[in-house]
């Protein structure tokens, strides 16, 4: 095929690339060991050109993973020790390059055609454990949060680099599982690379540069058109987050001018000295891009071209652009809130596209030892309610902006000696409004009766102080809460961390509902009646 692609040829190749990325995603999670990947689907897969620009990502991959992979590749290409050969597989979890905290590990495979580097296949998945302290809210520096893997070769010339594998194995709690999951990622990359080379052969492509350029350009143009449709102006908003000791105020100012958009974060607080709530720049940027894509151009194929018209100005050293060695383990507790800022700022201009405040998902990591002394770790994912929009109630129990699924209760129980006594929607947790916020959830967790070892629960519980706000007159959702019931009474576990020392201790975690949209007086009578009948309020 000619190097100039017409709209037929381009569509054919582009669809093929997306299909290849989807195949990578399927192979990875089917072969994975940890339920955080195989059931919760906390992974993303992407095909990039030789310069690290995105060509296509897996349709159901985690959006933020897709958005940060090019950073990783560009860094590899700029390193002093950057020699790459067929059979090499790179690995890193550097939060400042990847997904903003240590558990998300990138596996990147360079693809060669006739000994020339033509592409990269990248794959980020959440490791079931990365070492470090269990109470992530107590970390002061990233050193306390687990193993930090600088970019290095997990495979060299097709052979496992046992030095690297050994380092990883020695620093995590479930070494066999963590290494096997990395293998699943590398195997899927390898299959995808083979498919990519077949495609290039079929169409007589020696490299992907021209194809990449055209794909990026098309997406860029489509995004520019979408921005042009937003009236020029300066849009501002502010929001509060739980912070560590007290709430933190974040502000955003969005400048829309013609077909470009720039986001500033005025008066952004300094990075937090402890608590893991710091967001690094690439994580903040990824969430800004993701939020804008959702409201401006949700249906166009996504790649970096989409984001060229968007500029970001985040003060270095601030909580949204934290510098090493800040603690970042719970970075979502700050980073996810840029969605609220962006939706809030653009609500007036794009009332039909935004949603009200989001009851964010909470990830509860349950750690302990079974009767045989084997250490176990389970990830109980509990999503909150999404904010309502101008036209529909918010979705209940929806994993936004993570896009991860939950791990079935029966799978957790089958693997480890825990008893989950409830996982249910919380009536009344959605904010009131013409459209009601989505409902949050409540779970009850304890040890299987007869277990004498303690259970440690460590969660990323957010919105315990500051609920999800309503939009355009809608009310706030119900906040989150974690308590522990024991024979001596009930105690608060506001940090999201609890140790259950007896099999009669029960942790009860309530995850927040979403904000309502529009004046509650405008809610249809039939909707209110239905809410009452079904116990949604």
């Amino acid at each position: 095929m000619n190097e100039q692609f017409d709209s037929v040829g381009l569509e054919i190749l582009w669809s093929r690339l997306i299909a290849l990325a989807d195949e990578c995603w399927t192979l990875t999670h089917r072969a994975a060991f940890s339920p955080i990947i195989s059931e919760a689907l906390d992974l993303g897969c992407e095909i990039m050109d030789a310069g690290g620009s995105t060509l296509a990502h897996a349709t159901r991959g985690i959006p933020v993973f897709n958005l940060v992979l090019p950073n990783v590749v560009r860094h590899l290409l700029g390193m002093e020790d950057r020699a790459m050969e067929p059979g090499d597989v790179w690995v890193t979890n550097d939060p400042w390059l990847c997904a903003g905290h240590l558990p998300d590990i990138a596996v990147v495979t360079p693809v060669f055609k006739n000994d020339r580097l033509v592409a990269f296949v990248g794959n980020i998945a959440n490791a079931t454990d990365i070492g470090g302290g269990l109470n992530r809210a107590s970390a002061r520096e990233v050193y306390e949060e687990g193993l930090y893997i600088p970019p290095c070769r997990l495979y060299r010339g097709g052979k496992l680099n046992s030095d690297v594998a050994g380092f990883i194995a020695a620093n995590v709690r479930e070494p066999e599982v963590v290494l096997a999951d990395l293998d699943a990622q590398a195997g899927a990359n390898e299959a995808t690379a083979a498919g990519l080379l077949r495609m290039m052969d079929e169409y007589g492509l020696e490299n992907l540069d021209a194809l990449s350029r055209q794909i990026q350009d098309r997406s860029e143009n489509a995004m520019r058109q979408a921005i042009l449709a937003v009236p020029d102006g300066i849009y501002e908003s502010e929001t509060e987050t739980d912070g560590t000791d007290e709430p933190i105020r974040l502000r955003a100012r969005i400048h829309v001018s013609g077909d470009t958009l720039r986001i500033e974060f005025p008066d952004c607080p300094e990075q937090a000295p402890a608590g893991g709530i710091n967001s690094v720049l690439n994580y903040t940027r990824a969430h800004c891009f993701y939020a804008l894509k959702c409201i401006l151009a949700p249906s166009i194929a996504s790649n970096e071209g989409c984001y060229r018209p968007i500029a970001l100005d985040v003060p270095p050293g601030s909580i949204l652009n934290a510098k090493h060695p800040a603690s970042v383990g719970l970075r979502a507790k700050t980073g996810w809130h840029v969605h609220s800022l962006i939706f809030g700022a653009l609500a007036a201009a794009l009332p039909d596209q935004v949603i009200a405040g989001i009851g964010f998902p909470s990830w509860i990591v349950i750690s302990g030892k079974d009767r045989t002394g084997r250490a176990f770790r389970e990830h109980l994912i509990v999503s909150g309610g999404l904010g309502a929009s101008g036209g529909a109630d918010g979705i209940s129990a929806s994993g936004f902006p993570s896009s991860a699924a939950s791990v079935p209760v029966e799978v957790i129980e089958a693997r480890s000696p825990v008893l989950i006594e409830a996982k249910e929607l919380v009536g009344g947790s959605g904010g009131d409004g013409e459209y009601r916020g989505g409902l949050g959830q409540r779970v009850r967790v304890r040890a299987l009766p007869g277990m004498t070892q303690e259970l440690v629960l460590s969660s990323s519980l957010d919105r315990t102080r500051v609920p999800a706000a309503g939009s355009l007159g809608g009310g706030p959702g119900m906040p989150s809460r974690m308590v522990v019931e024991t024979s001596k009474g009930t105690r608060d576990a506001a940090e999201g961390y609890a140790v259950l020392s007896s099999d009669s201790d029960t942790a009860i975690v309530t995850v927040s509902g979403g904000g309502g949209f529009g004046d509650p007086a405008g809610r249809a009578v039939a909707s209110r009646e239905r809410d009452r009948r079904l116990g949604y309020v």
Partner: protein, 706 residues
């Protein structure tokens, strides 16, 4: 011969189709009439009467009726099932509504999910609990169950599903509820999750149980009505139902487990494809059925249709996985993609030519139908390129308007150049989309399309197959006869078959082989009971064994064929070898240091049936008028005067060299340059590329069948 006819009946949305095969002459007779949605049995009975009258046959000449219906699928889509309640473990009332929590479209802030079949006020909690080991921590209390049942009866509920946590390990608490209901409320339709889907993962199991309960009264009424009226009519021979797994089952099975009837329509077409694959001893076949709005792809290896254990039905967005209701049941593993003759072509916001998934449907249909459609479709493109004969569409029952097609293409796609260039773009993109779908489907199953045979049918399949095969590196395509009635024909050749399974998770080296042998005894007996209504003799029953394995700690299993169970302590070694081979084929890497876990033991019980062969429709060549027309074949240089051959006049053994067009009433085959077509004795047309040698044809045998 008194009982000489076997009849296939397919109730579709618009038509109820009949195919009767005369077992003496082996000739098929086709009949159709409008479906009667209010009382679907009406059209079945009326059509059967008309068909028998046409054949001048008495009702008692009917030996077998195989029936396929979309009633179950439609009841889920149109929400016309029973008023259904769910009894569930305290704390887990919202399992259906919470679902997976995953966002099937990551950028859509207003995702929609199907409403639960049992709304929240009909989901009642019972304080009870079973652990992961099957230990009962708490039994249901009679007073609580009594008050729940009273509440449901006051609400005039028609069906009840019971889905308790961990019931896949121990069904006792669910069974206790079933006994209570049977005592207090004998007429109530009850589905236990531990009966319908005894497998781990509460959302899938609950969803399956509720869907089954929801369908039971509807299917019960319909099948009761139909059986009664067939009996009145004097057709007292056996009635069988087409199942999701590509086999057929008894009426009793359909009444008890109506989820097994879901998506049985596509399964029938694939059963027919499998028949040709076996008959022609093709080791690897990709069944490709392309119709008006979608195309369906399925792998058939060694004559066996690939099956899966999960279906997703009633999707909010037809082509978005995750937007529907999961149903755990053995089903033909079909990939459905949004591309067919009616798929609409348009330029999207990126300036790319996109085809589908939006479809012009039957009304207004493609622009060339002249019914008011103005958007260009795949059919319009195929007409513009000269592939379709405007005078001979649907055998001449409909005239196509080339001028309307051209105008629609030019009006929408002027940026692509002239109408022919744009039409070629549409045609090529559809081919690529289909090839991509086939490729992903094969990759997910560890198969490679190269070296396979493409078996193409459906109204649009034969038009696109040759080029799709080229893209995929496939050198041989087979076109079965009468592609339009392939589904109804599938009913007649699908064997009785029921899939059974039991989860019994254990490390492979700790399996109690005596227990597995005993388990298989039970499953075989259960399978024989399921087929018993069909009066099968023991020597007509076959068994196929497989099991789901994973590396220890892994979530997803892979299904591997296993030998017939006469297991002993040496069996672990053989099963390990089979698993490792399949694992490496799929995932490329086998991580070291993990034991092997066996999770579920599976059994397919099937009827070893003499296959009814259809006679080729024409045994002697009829003199063909030499015909040709202008057709756009870029592989031959562009517009050429292309020979046109009428398929009905072709005798077995006839050969045709491409480029050529082969026409019949329901579809059109395009032969490319360097392709040679041969008519086979079963009426199929087989093509292969002149420059590619014929693949080895010996059927490989895998797995155990006895």
């Amino acid at each position: 011969m008194s009982a000489r006819y076997r009849v296939g009946v397919d109730i579709g949305g618009t038509f109820t189709d009949f195919v009767a095969i005369d077992q003496e002459s082996r000739r098929p007779h086709v009949h159709k009439l409008l479906t009667t949605p209010g009382r679907p049995a009406d059209a079945v009975i009326d059509g059967l009467r008309e068909l028998l009258a046409r054949l001048d046959a008495r009702p008692d000449t009917v030996d077998l009726i195989v029936h396929g219906t979309t009633l179950a699928s439609n009841a889920l889509i149109e929400r016309t099932g029973a008023k259904t309640a769910l009894l569930t473990t305290k704390g887990f009332r919202d399992v259906l509504e919470i679902g997976t929590e995953q966002r099937y479209d990551t950028y859509d802030l207003r995702l929609q999910f199907p409403e639960p079949l049992a709304p929240r006020d009909r989901r009642l909690e019972i304080a009870e609990r079973t652990t992961r080991d099957g230990v009962i921590l708490q039994k249901p209390r009679s007073d609580e169950v009594d008050s729940a049942l009273t509440a449901l009866s006051l609400d005039s509920v028609e069906a009840v599903a019971v889905a308790f946590l961990n019931s896949y390990r121990n069904p006792e608490n669910e069974r206790a509820i079933a006994r209570w209901i049977a005592e207090r409320w004998p007429s109530m339709a009850v589905t236990l999750s531990s009966d319908i889907s005894p497998e781990i993962r509460e959302f899938d199991r609950t969803s399956t149980a509720v869907a089954n309960a929801y369908l039971q009264p509807v299917i019960e009424r319909y099948l009761g009505d139909l059986s009664e009226r067939l009996e009145e009519m004097g057709v007292e021979r056996r009635l069988l139902l087409m199942l999701s797994n590509g086999g057929t089952g008894t009426v009793e099975l359909g009444r008890q487990q109506p989820v097994r009837l879901l998506e049985s329509g596509p399964a029938a077409g694939i059963a027919a494809a499998a028949y040709y694959a076996r008959r022609q001893e093709l080791p690897s076949v990709i069944s490709f059925d392309m119709g008006g709005t979608t195309a369906k792809v399925c792998l058939i290896e060694d004559g066996r249709v690939a099956t899966t254990s999960t279906l997703e039905v009633a999707r909010v967005h037809r082509f978005k996985p995750g937007s529907g209701l999961p149903i755990r049941t053995a089903a033909v593993d079909v990939l459905e993609v949004g591309g067919g003759g009616g798929s609409i072509a348009a330029i999207d916001s990126l300036g790319l030519l996109r085809v589908g998934p939006r479809s012009a449907g039957a009304d207004p249909g493609p622009a060339c139908y002249g019914r008011g459609g103005v958007e260009p479709t795949v059919t319009d493109a195929n007409l513009q390129l000269g592939y379709l004969n405007p005078e001979y569409f649907l055998g001449g029952r409909m005239r196509l308007e080339p001028e309307l097609a051209r105008r629609a293409i030019e009006a929408t796609l002027d940026s692509l150049g002239d109408a022919t260039k744009a039409a070629w773009g549409i045609h090529s993109i559809v081919n690529e989309q289909m090839a991509a779908a086939v490729r992903v489907h094969c990759a997910e199953r560890g198969a490679d399309p190269r070296g396979s045979t493409l078996l193409a049918f459906g109204g649009a399949g034969p038009l696109h197959a040759a080029r799709i095969a080229r893209i995929l590196g496939i050198s041989s395509v087979v076109y079965p006869p009468s592609p339009g009635v392939n589904s109804a024909f599938g009913f007649l050749i699908a064997p009785l078959a029921v899939d059974l399974s039991r989860s019994l998770p254990s490390p492979l080296d700790e399996v109690s082989w005596a227990a597995v042998n005993a388990l298989y005894e039970l499953l075989r007996a259960e399978g024989r009971r399921s087929l018993a209504g069909a009066d099968l003799e023991e020597d007509k029953i076959g068994y196929r064994y497989s099991a789901d394995f994973a590396l220890s700690g892994q979530s997803h299993e892979i299904t591997v064929d296993i030998p017939a169970p006469d297991f002993d302590s040496d069996s672990a070694a053989e099963l390990t070898a089979r698993f490792r081979e399949e694992y490496q084929r799929r995932y490329r890497r086998l991580p070291a240091g993990f034991g092997i876990q066996v999770v579920t033991w599976r059994l397919t019980v099937f009827e070893k049936r003499e296959i009814t062969e259809m006679a080729a429709r024409s045994t002697a060549a009829t003199e063909q008028e030499r015909r040709s027309r202008q057709v756009h074949i870029p592989e031959a240089g562009g517009w050429i005067e292309c020979p046109v051959v009428a398929r009905p006049g072709l005798a077995p053994g006839a050969t045709i060299h491409g480029p050529a067009i082969v026409e019949e009433a329901e579809s059109t085959i395009i032969l490319l340059p360097s392709e040679i077509a041969t008519v086979l004795s079963d009426g199929c047309i087989e093509t292969r590329l002149a420059d590619v040698p014929r693949e080895g044809r010996a059927a490989r045998s895998k797995g155990a069948e006895s």
